[in-house]
Structure formats: C-alpha cells, structure tokens
Symmetry: D2
C-alpha cells in the first residue's frame, strides 16, 4: 500500500499563481470583457435573482452605472436554513435570458460540486464565495470546467491561504482566476466586515492574478459602497463588484447594502473618475499600463 504524497516545493507555496510564474500581471477574459491591468471592470447586479423582471431591471441599472458584467445569485449561501436560498436552476435560466437580451455576460456563485456542471452550462464566470474559499473539492471542480473563476477571500483567511486556494483552482486546470477582497472579520461592529484595502496591493505584489474589491459586502451599508469602491480604485484594484436592486426595500437578501436606481449616476461618475483616482500610481506603479487606457467601450458602457 503506497502513499502518493506530493511534496510541496520549497521555493513558493503557490507555484502557478505566484508573481514569478508570469512575465507580467494577467488579464482574465470573461465573455469578452477583460479584467486585469489597465482596466477597472465593474460587475454589478442583485444579491439574488428573484424574478425575470427584477433581474432585467437590475441589469439595465448595472449598465447605466457603468457595469460590463452582471452578477446575480441563483444559489445563495445563507447563515440560516430558513432564509431564502435562491431560485437554483430557475435563477440560472433567468440570468441566461437576461444575458440574451442585454448582451451582458454574468458571474454567479456555485455552492456544491454537484452543481458545477449545471452552473457552468449557463454562466460566463463561476464565483466561489467567502464561506467556500477552503472548500477544496469545490475549488477543484470549479477549476476544471473551462470557465474563469471569481474567488472571494474567506472572512478570516490570510492572504497566503487565499492564494493557496487560488492555487487549487489553477492546479485543476484554470488560471483565469480573479481574486476578490470582500472584507475580513475583526472586532469592529460598526461595519459588516472590515475591508482590508491593503490586501489589493499586497496581492498584486505576490501574484500575477487580477484582484477586485467588493465594497457591498465589506461595508454592509449602502452609504459605504461608493467610498469604499473609490478606495479600491485608489489602491489599484482591477475592478469592483457591487450589489444593486431596483427596489432594495423589497429585496429578498441584503437590501441594506444594495444601490438604488437613483444611485446610478453617482456610480457612473465614479467609474468615469477611475483614471483620475488611480492616476499616477497606475501609470508608474506595479499595476502596469495607465488606467487611462481603460477600454471603456468594452468593459465600461458604450
């Protein structure tokens, strides 16, 4: 009886996602939309897919706000078994339909290895949520279906553990990984989580993977979404994922942190300001080419 023990190399614990593995920083292509150096791609949409109408309206909001990609949960991880857990397959059909009508590629979360193929049939990008960052079976399954993966940081994961989780996905065959900082758990209770803004440049120093920021879950409050998103742009994030809803007060989850239709002009203004916010840092720093080269016709709105 022999044991197939794979030795961890001495040099670096994460070989494939290490900065040294590539000549420069990587760009991940999601249904034709690039995420990587020189971009600040906005992913926006509702926490959960509820109805076709709500999803379509949310997509239109997202586009008006400057989003190139749609987000929306069909399978929802919830702390309580009695909460709304998403529409499942029906939610995926809705998202596919909205993509057909709007042309916006979408990212959606997968929670169970048994659902990976189904979700991959519909989605343009698979999301691994914070609670599943060390669900290693799911990481491997998601990494083996040929779609890009959005990997959220676990709420108490170190940056090294996060990159090791990405290495699981990479080792399974997929290096088209986008990392997402969504706030960590600390003693502070004034915000839902504590956005670890330093993680963005730290990850970009250690890995070639793009990294985006999620100000909606980090702050857990509508009024913090734009300021925290702005902070993300300021430190050189490669994009942002936010939640919005046509009627947040009627949302089936996380309505308090969802932007409203009337917030879209401010969101769009922020997106237009990104080259100024990231500015010189982006032009001279390790983030690569200038943000002013953002191909806004592609990953912003036309």
């Amino acid at each position: 009886m022999s044991i197939a023990r794979t030795e961890m190399p001495e040099s670096s614990p994460y070989l494939l996602v290490d900065k040294q593995a590539r000549a420069g920083r990587s760009t991940v292509n999601v249904g034709g939309v690039p995420i990587g150096p020189g971009t600040f791609t906005l992913i926006a949409g509702p926490c959960a897919v509820e109805t076709p109408e709500q999803t379509l309206r949310a997509a239109e909001m997202a586009r008006a706000g400057g989003a190139a990609l749609l987000r929306g949960g069909a399978f929802k991880p919830r702390t309580s078994p009695y909460a709304f857990h998403g529409l499942g397959r029906e939610g995926l059909l809705i998202l596919s339909g909205v993509r057909a009508e709007t042309g916006m590629p979408f990212v959606t979360e997968v929670l169970d290895t048994r659902d990976v193929d189904l979700v991959a049939t519909h989605a343009d990008m698979l999301q691994i949520g914070a609670r599943n960052m060390q669900n290693f079976s799911l990481l491997r399954a998601a990494g083996s279906v040929g779609l890009p993966v959005l990997l959220k940081r676990g709420m108490s994961a170190t940056i090294e553990e996060w990159l090791m989780a990405a290495e699981y996905v990479a080792q399974a065959g997929c290096t088209d990984i986008v990392l997402c900082e969504r706030g960590i758990r600390t003693f502070e209770t004034a915000t839902r989580n504590t956005l670890d803004i330093s993680a963005i440049p730290t990850v970009q120093r250690l890995s070639h993977l793009p990294v985006i920021v999620d100000p909606s879950h980090a702050g857990g409050r509508r009024d913090l979404v734009l300021p925290l998103g702005r902070a993300g742009a300021a430190v050189g994030a490669d994009g942002m994922i936010i939640e919005l809803h046509p009627q947040p007060e009627q949302a089936l989850c996380d309505g308090k942190q969802a932007l409203r239709p009337e917030d879209m002009p401010d969101l769009r203004a922020l997106m237009e300001d990104v080259p100024l916010i990231a500015g010189r840092l982006a032009q001279t720093g390790p983030a690569g080419p200038a943000v002013s080269a953002v191909p806004t016709g592609v990953n912003g709105t036309p």
Copy 2:
C-alpha cells in the same frame, strides 16, 4: 414564477437545536458510545490514516489512553494542493478493518457532498470540519444519511453561526449532533488558534446539543493538549477529541500536535481525573448528572 420563501421564525434563529427544543440536554449515541451530560467521552486517533499498521497502533494507543472512539482522516482538507490529502476510499477501508479488530467505532471527515454516501457506508459518525462549517450543501447532505454528525466550529464563526450550521444538519433530519470547539482565529500567534473555552458553557446554555473540545487543533502544540483538555473538562465539556500517532515525527500531517505513545499514561490519568476536575460544577450545574456517573466501561476504557 413563484418564490418559495421560507420565513425565519421570530422567536429563535435555531429552532431545532435550541435549548428550549428539549426538556434536558441531549446525549448522542455513536456506535453504542454515548456523548452527552454525565460523560466525558474521549475520541482519539491520528490526523490522517496512513497505513493499516499505523492506524491499528494508533487505535491501540487511543484505547490505552482511555478513548472510546477512534478518529482518523481519510479525506484531508489541506491548505496546499500539494500536501497529502489522505488515502480516500482506501483510508475508509483501513478504518473499517481496524474497527473490526478493535471494536472501536470511528468518526471521520467528509469533504464533498459526492462522498457522503461512501463515507457513511463505513463511518459511525461523520465529521464536518472547521473549513466546511458553512458549506451548507455538505451540512444538509451529512444530515440526511442517518448517522450522527460531529460539527466543528469554523475558525472565525460566532457561536450563533455555529448553532445555525447545526440547525442545517438538524433540519436535514439529524439531531444527533455533537459540537466541537477547536479554537478560533485571533491576532495571537503563539498558538495555532485560540481555544475559546468560554464557548463550552455558552453553547450549553443556548443549545441542548453536547459539545466537546479539540485541544490538538486549538493549541497546535503537543505540550498544550493535556492542559487544554483539562480546561475543557473543568468547564463541563462533554468530551474531547485529540490527535495521537505511533511515530509523530514521521506523521504525514500535524505531527507537532500529536501525542506520542509515552504520553498515554498521562492521557489516561487525565481521563480518570475528569470527575474530580469537573466536580461540583457538573453535579450542580446545568451539565446535568454527576460526572462520576461516567459509564467508563463503555466510553472510557474497559
């Protein structure tokens, strides 16, 4: 298109595992071994099943130390994809064989919904690890196969979230749940985790479920296992799960925290001291009947 939104009841977020749901505290039966008030059941074994010989010797050590149940990982969650991930099915066969020879029921971890049936075919109790505490699909799957479940606390999970995770298992059909405090993540780096010893009496106040302590993962150091286990007994824990190995220096995982053969007398002495350690607290406190009523012929040593 209708949404099946299950409302969360106002009264308590965890209905089935709440203290109010039962007249007294529950006892969970694992292959004939009780875990609950009036017991201090020892679960011991290697981090990972490596060979039949190693597992058998570990089981003999465990028994000598006072254990009634064997633990051993066939599927191992590891931070790195390049680390040893366990023998899988082969490991389950070894555990079954060792049970046949020693008569010790065993608990082993399941990582993937697709493996639940396989693991359940062999094991006497399914373990959900800290990293999967909010892997809700896995909680439901584990809760529906008719075996008792050992639910470890997530490393940054609040006690409320932990009980909500237990509620998932309960709602899936299994209320034979044993909770396990295994240390939480804090700023302190002198220990692998910080054992939240207060969680034991806090959980016993909120829920009817038994709760045990894992001093091996909490401290991450061999010299802390017995002191922390003693602390667990002192606050009224219903048992303890520890790691041991016939040759820790050659262990394929976590050798630094594994007890050695020469530690078994001290472990057994601790087990014999439990009624004294828990003492009056157990006799008069909310933990129910006196610890001196521990049926040591069953869940202690013969």
Copy 3:
C-alpha cells in the same frame, strides 16, 4: 549631541522576566501572601470601592469564598468620561481601613504616574490595568516604588508584548510581578472578551513569573466566573482574581459579572477542589511542586 541608544540583546527580547533568568518559577509575596508555583491564590473584591460598609462586606465575602487578598478600585478606568471613576484617595483610605480590620492585604489599580506614590503608600500591590499595559511611563513608575505589581494583559496584546511590558517593570527595579490573563478581543460577541486559556501554560513556558486568571472580565457574566476560574486552575494558573459585591444589582460598575453573597459557598468549594483540578499536571508538570502543598492557612482562608 549624542544619543544614548540602548541596544536590545539578540538572545531574548525580555531578559529579566525570561524563564532562563531564574533557576525555577518565581513566587511573589504580597503582604505575606505567596503567589507562585504550589499556590492558587484567590484575590477577590468589588470592581470599585463605593463605601466603607460595602467594602468591608465585600472583604468578608471574599474571605468566606477563600480569598487571601482583597481587590477594589479607587481609581477606575472607564470608557466614558461620564461614568463613575472611583473615589480616588478616599477609596484608598477605605481600603486601608478594611485591611486594618480584616487583615487582608489589598491590590488596587493605579492609572496615572502622578498617583503612584499615593497609591503605593496604601496598597500592598499595584495593579496595571489592561488599557495601560503599554503605558510605559506608568510601568516604570510602578516598578520603582518597591511594591509587587499585578500586570494585566492588554486586550489585544500578544504574549510577547505582555512579557515586554513586564520587562519594563522589571527593568525599573521590580521583579515581583504577577501576570494576569483577562481575556482578549476577538470577533466573538457572546462574551465580553475571549479568555485565552492557552496563554497560562504558554507564559509559564516562556517566563518565570507567576500568572493568574481573571474570569470576571474575561467572560463578563456572573455564570461564567466559576467555570472559567476552574479552567484556569486546570491549566495550572497560580491564582485567580475575581469580582464580587454584596449587592451586585446596585454596584456602580460591572455588576453583571460580580459574584453575590450566595455564590460564596460555590467559590469556596472551587478553591477546595483546586488540588484535584490541577492534579497530576501540577505534580509532574513545569508548574513545580504539587498543588496539594497549597498553604491554605496562608493564602486561602484559615
């Protein structure tokens, strides 16, 4: 202009309090009461000195519970400037009077370098509170007046920082230092703080100083005081400091965590159980001589 730069030695960051600095573990003498290996000294009393009557009754309670030393705050650090901050000098006079009547030496907190001499005139031991653990001026001042010092761990201090704080006191001339673990700040909100029970054996491995546990501040709840104190004894703490009050519901601070008169029998029972709780660990472990050698006539009650 020259700079008197004192170099930190390579070998150990804390020279005087390091385990290597002494042949064995130290015993600190407080007004004739020893705290150190082979003891489990109980310090008890009210959060704040309110009146002579309240303090005298509290001292009698403390003695009935098994305490050898009295605690009581004359200078109280409070989060709010509008809260009760203690009686100051008047409180010290009350404590002196109660000592005269009961014979119990007392420990009390000092908050300001300008008050050190005044407090030292009255007290048998100076307490440095958690919020002042890195008030280096205060550490030095307290270390230079010839009294033993009780040094609480800062609420987010690492064990190394705590020992470095002790080194300040030692370098100022006082090595009669007793360390006190009183809970650290984590994300968990079910308890006021999280008692880091592992810190007790960890400190005893690194330093020769005695270390005690404060279950009152750690848990912040009356019902957790005895279980957590028991856990402290189980891991080999050299003593315990707790809060009690003749009428907790009328206490001017922290009434929720104060033991009541009716809790004294349970407290005393716990004190009597200490040799059993600490047991073999104490007899064979690094804690030195057996706990059964506790001179209960001296630091327990007669």
Copy 4:
C-alpha cells in the same frame, strides 16, 4: 460619604464630539494650518527626532512632499525597554529650532501626564498615541492645556471607544481634536496592521471632528504608504500623517516604513491629485465643500 456619580446621558454616549453637537463638520487650526472639510492636510516627518541635522532635512523633505505640518517623536513609546525612547526635552528643543527655521508648525507625542506642560510649551499640537488611547488621565491632561490634540485610534479600539476617548479630551476643555486611523490589529500578518479604511466615513457620519489617515503605521511598509494614503483621500479623509527620513536605513526606529528623499516627487504628485481622487464624493458628499477649495498656499506648500 457621598459619591459624585455623574450619569451618562441616554441620548448619546459622546455628547461633545457627536455630529449633532455642531451645525457642520469642524475645522481644527494647528499653528495656522486648517484640518477639516475642504482640506487634505499632510503631516510628515521622521518617526523620531535624532539630530538637528536629520530633523531639518526631514522637514525640508516634508515640505517638498507637500506637507504643511511637521511630525517627529521626542518621547517614543517602544515595545521594548531596551529600544531607543527618543531624546525627550532635547528632541523638543530641536523641533522648536526647526520650526523657527522652516516655519512649519509641528505635532509631537506626549506619553506621560507629567510631561504635558513641557511638551505643550513647544508643540503646536499634542499627539496621543494608539497605546495611550485609553490612558484617561493623559487624555484629560492633554485636553486642558489649550492646544489641539491628534488622537490616534487604539489598535483594538472600536470606533465607539475611540469617540469616547475623544470625549474625554473634549470634556477637559479641548474640542480641537483630530482623529487618526492608523490600522487595527487583526489575524492578517502580511501587513503591520490592517488599515480600517471604512472608519473614515463612519467617523464622519458619527462625529463633527476631522479624521486623517496614517498609512505608514497601518501598512508598516514603504511601498504601501502612497497607495494607502491615496485610499484615504478617496474615502474623504481630511488629511494624512506619514513618516519619512533622509536616510531610512539608518533610522533609529521604523525605517522600513519611512519614505525616502527620492519618494518626495510621488508624494507631492499624490497631494496634487487629491482633488481628483476625492472628486465628486467630496463635492456632493457629507464631507462639505469641494476639495478643489484646498487652500494649498496654507496647508500645502507655497
């Protein structure tokens, strides 16, 4: 014997620094330099004053980088008693001399109530460091000498505790308080602390006091100073305090996080970009008047 118990008002725990206490957000004047809405004041200088030459060169660097105020430690809080603790009074004399020559007002830390008058004789603003945020005697003493106070957040202080600490200063007579977010302690070890960027807008919602960011201590790495400072500007901070040194490799403390002479152009560029970074947010948000109204002739460079 009566107890002067001051009742805490029901309405708000911090009366004087509460947002409701003023019509708008406050501006604090430091030696003629405003800190408040419509500004982004840079405070820069060495960790510690070492020599007159070093301090003068640092002040010239600071000015070149766009700083209006000088910082420099004469009394240094250090984890180890064997580390360099600053030049004390001599350091204050050096700072006064450099101010005379450069015209830059300066802020410096005070550690001991006994030193408050001395430091106040020289400094334009008193700094209360993170370790002393709940040194209530020091807060009161600092608040009573008629100088503005820079109050750093404690490393594990909640925002509410931080505002309560400010209330101590205010109650002692000084409402010219500037709050400073300098990173909190979390489990992440890749950075010295975790900058809680959300704290900036959260504080501005709760209090009328200005709040600035300290990217040097937050990140603990030179390469993070400008990105994190940029993030501070992006969320609407009222300024920034950073460390620099003419020869960081020879600095007596914290050289790794000090900017070098060659970093000054990038620092100045960042300062010039601030109106763009803060942008619309500042113009329309709760931060008051547009950042483009920054009186750069006063609190920037001439």
